[in-house]
């Protein structure tokens, strides 16, 4: 193996030196396992299966991609599996925020540093939603009402416990001086439905989880947890586009939060393997289907690799640790 890698490495150098052929140094020689540390039907699952589909449709890679769900223990099962597959060139994993929250909240022994970062595919937004039957037109109205009702009277539904939704909820509480009763559900779809059915007062669903209800007039977006407004100007409902939703900063909640949709690999893989996957995901991102998916889900289309990506992940880990420490969510050692 080792000699082969060295050989292929030198092949790259030779090829690069002559710049004659594209550097096809390493290519998968068997199907690539795509681990999803979440259940079937969720956002990460959709993205992974989408990748499998466009890969097959446009022959973006010679070998097929096989998505496998390992959702146990809030995703710990998947991360531990990749951590244990040191040096496996045919295994990649898509992450969500549980890359940080699961080890911090449960103490399960893994860290992103046990993996090889490949690329950031996109970032997922979070929006504060209320039921459109309620009178709240802005986040100011809503938070004032929550404050007036008294601590714990307003209910916030979210996905899982001590994960991104609850972290955002705690941050809102701190910023606005209110107190919600946080009710955890299993998936984002169920969370949005609970809000449509008026069983809770608000949610912080991802755009793609709530867009259908927004378009049918059942939900109202109040603000997005981003530094700037979302760039999509195409009308989603008859009157509004994603771009028309104010940021929560504009509305007086100094909070932004984005969820990583990124790719990692097991530790101990060589750089040209990583480069192959970077190139591969660039091809995936180049398809028209990918652009559609991004627009439908109002994703933040940041793309990062290498050092820049590592720095981003390290900073994000610190942010999560701080937010979770503030909320008292860290596992007791």
């Amino acid at each position: 193996m080792r000699t082969r890698r060295i050989l292929s490495c030198s092949a790259v150098m030779v090829a690069a030196a002559f710049a004659a052929a594209p550097a096809a140094a390493w290519e998968p020689s068997k199907p690539v396992e795509f681990v999803i540390p979440a259940g079937q039907g969720g956002g990460a699952d959709q993205m992974a299966r989408f990748t499998q589909g466009v890969t097959a449709k446009h022959s973006l890679m010679k070998q097929p991609v096989i998505p496998i769900n390992k959702s146990g223990g809030a995703g710990a099962e998947g991360f531990l599996d990749v951590k244990a597959s040191k040096g496996d060139d045919h295994k990649i994993i898509i992450t969500l925020s549980n890359l940080f929250t699961t080890p911090l909240a449960t103490g399960v022994p893994f860290n992103w540093k046990d993996l090889t970062p490949v690329a950031m595919l996109a970032l997922d937004n979070f929006v504060l939603w209320v039921n459109s039957d309620t009178p709240y037109k802005s986040s100011k109205d809503y938070l004032a009402a929550a404050k007036k009702a008294g601590p714990g009277k307003f209910k916030m539904a979210g996905t899982g416990a001590k994960q991104e939704d609850q972290i955002i909820t705690v941050a809102i509480e701190k910023a606005a001086g209110v107190k919600f009763t946080y009710v955890p559900f299993k998936g984002g779809g169920a969370v949005a439905t609970q809000l449509v059915g008026n069983h809770v007062n608000s949610t912080v669903n991802n755009p793609i989880e709530a867009v259908a209800h927004w378009r049918s007039g059942k939900l109202r977006p109040l603000c997005v947890f981003e530094k700037a407004r979302m760039p999509y100007k195409k009308k989603v409902t008859s009157t509004m586009a994603w771009n028309d939703i104010p940021t929560c900063r504009e509305a007086g909640i100094p909070m932004d939060y984005l969820m990583l949709r990124g790719i990692f690999m097991p530790a101990g893989v060589s750089q040209d393997v990583v480069d192959f996957y970077i190139g591969y995901f660039k091809r995936v991102r180049g398809t028209a289907e990918w652009n559609n998916l991004m627009e439908n889900g109002a994703f933040n289309q940041s793309f990062m690799t290498g050092k820049e990506y590592v720095n981003w992940v390290a900073a994000a880990e610190n942010t999560h640790r701080e937010l979770m420490r503030g909320a008292g969510f860290l596992a007791k050692k």
Binding site: Q40, G72, G73, E77, Q166, G189, T193, G197
Partner: protein
């Protein structure tokens, strides 16, 4: 009508049969559930028009709904979680040489359940979708509570043994991550236990491996050898089926209701079996090979499985794991599920609904013609078929989450299943608690969070109050009916069980 013109092209029809056939295989193999089957094939459908793709994928789902019963009846191994209740009477029937009858009854009931659900989807979809929205955590809990209560006093075993079995099930259901606090429970530091005990692993081990251990002890013989294997058995069974119309209707209502809310096909089949046992004239003979005991769960699980697609199309809420995968598919194809789908994509929606009619008819024809073939499997000597079953069980256990450790868990469950049967402990309460314990617990704790610990939330409106009341009534029914019986005939003792 428009929908049928979408579906009735040779290409689509061919894919429909391919889907149904694959679905039956998926249903027969334990572990490889409908959700897995659809997820594996989903990316292959990218090159097809969405309407054609959904026809094929949903046909896999219909096939799996029908096929789950086959191994339940023949070998006491439920191919799918929702077929567990079918084993209670289906397997005894097969042992008595009536496998053909049991299979025919099961397939016909499945078709009836699915058909009723499709008719409901066709005509009253929006109203039903709104009903689904009125379900919050307290309502969900009351439904699970009702399922448990309608199951109390089911077996002939001692109540204490039923409770022990159920409690073991609850304990197993608690293993893994706790969704309300985000903490790990009962994993004792073993990473293999992180994902908890999957219900399918337990079922494959307890029923499949346990049954084989028992048969081995009894001298390597299956007792279903005299199974009739001509197609005439289908007609004969059909003549007897209309007698069970009452049970079929009740089960259909339960199934449609739980499919829409979305409680799912598994609780529906258990609840329907429990209700049928209570209301049937032959209720006390249930578990000994009553055809009615096959009809009830099969009508309910297909009605539930089919109507689970309604909230998916109309609201974007998946009513079952398979529906969740299909939902992901819709988004990948660029369709947005939700109330506007009917208006914006009529081709797609009506094509799907038309495929529900045709797909179910195709499945029914396919499985009924195979009844003699399935029944003939029982003629294969046990010494040949047993190793095959063990291998299939092991493959099934592995496919659930691609984990080697699950095969070991399956074997442990097999020994547990064997011991349970030897010691005369019932397995059904354990399975019921394992599959519903988790969901019931989350729903209860979510309700308690919302009500800040006030139990009155379970009576806070007519819907939740009604269901809770019904559940309490079912729970105390054995006592009430016992008291009534005692009042009427003071000398009859011990009727309280």
């Amino acid at each position: 009508m428009h929908g049928f013109s979408v579906v009735l092209s040779p290409y689509t029809l061919m894919l429909m049969f391919v889907g149904v056939f694959l679905g039956i295989i998926v249903g027969v193999l334990p572990g490889l559930g409908g959700a897995n089957g659809v997820a594996i094939l989903l990316p292959l459908t990218f090159a097809m028009p969405p309407a054609t793709a959904i026809v094929m994928l949903s046909c896999i789902y219909w096939g799996a709904l029908f096929g789950g019963a086959i191994t339940s009846i023949l070998f006491n191994i439920p191919g799918e979680p929702w077929s567990v209740a079918t084993t209670f009477d289906g397997y005894p029937m097969a042992q008595q040489g009536r496998a053909g009858e049991a299979l025919t009854a099961s397939f016909t009931s499945s078709f009836f359940g699915a058909l009723c659900a499709v008719i409901m989807i066709t005509f009253i979809a929006p109203a039903v979708a709104n009903f689904a929205l009125s379900f919050g955590p307290p309502e969900f809990f009351s439904v699970y509570f009702l399922t448990f209560c309608s199951f109390i006093g089911m077996g002939r075993e001692k109540p204490a043994k039923i409770i022990v079995s159920m409690m073991i099930g609850f304990a197993l259901a608690a293993v893994g991550i706790d969704i309300v606090t985000g903490q790990l429970r009962l994993t004792f530091g073993f990473t293999e236990l992180l994902r908890g005990f999957n219900f399918l692993i337990a079922v494959i081990g307890l029923f499949g491996i346990g049954e084989i251990l028992l048969s081995m002890e009894e001298g390597l013989s299956f007792t279903g050898k005299s199974a009739k294997i001509s197609l005439r058995v289908v007609l004969e069974t059909w003549r007897r089926l209309p007698r069970f119309w009452g049970t079929a209707l009740r089960s259909m209502v339960i199934g449609c209701w739980l499919g829409v809310t979305p409680g799912g096909a598994t609780p529906a089949s258990f609840m329907a079996y429990g209700v049928a046992k209570r209301t049937s004239r032959d209720g006390d003979k249930f578990g000994t090979g009553q055809m009615e005991g096959v009809v009830a769960p099969e009508v309910a699980n297909n009605a539930a499985g089919t109507s689970a697609l309604l909230p998916m199309i109309a609201l974007g809420i998946p009513g079952s794991p398979t529906a969740a995968v299909l939902l992901g598919g819709l988004m990948i194809w660029g369709l947005q599920p939700g109330p506007l789908l009917f208006k914006e994509q009529p081709d797609f929606v009506w094509g799907l609904i038309a495929s529900m009619y045709l797909g179910n008819i195709a499945t029914l024809i396919l499985v009924l013609t195979c009844v003699p073939f399935f029944a003939a499997i029982l003629r294969i000597p046990f010494s040949i078929i047993a190793p095959v079953i063990v291998v299939i069980c092991a493959v099934g256990a592995y496919t659930v989450s691609n984990a080697q450790s699950d095969i070991w868990f399956m074997l442990v469950f097999g020994v547990v299943g064997y011991l349970f049967k030897k010691l005369d402990y019932p397995l059904a309460p354990l399975v019921l608690a394992l599959v519903l314990g988790d969901m019931a617990e989350s729903a209860f704790r979510q309700s308690m969070l919302m009500a800040q610990g006030d139990l009155r939330i379970f009576f806070s409106n007519w819907l939740v109050g009604g269901i809770t009341g019904l559940a309490l009534f079912a729970l105390f029914w054995p006592l009430i009916s016992g008291l009534l019986a005692r009042l009427r005939a003071p000398k009859a003792r011990g009727a309280t069980t």
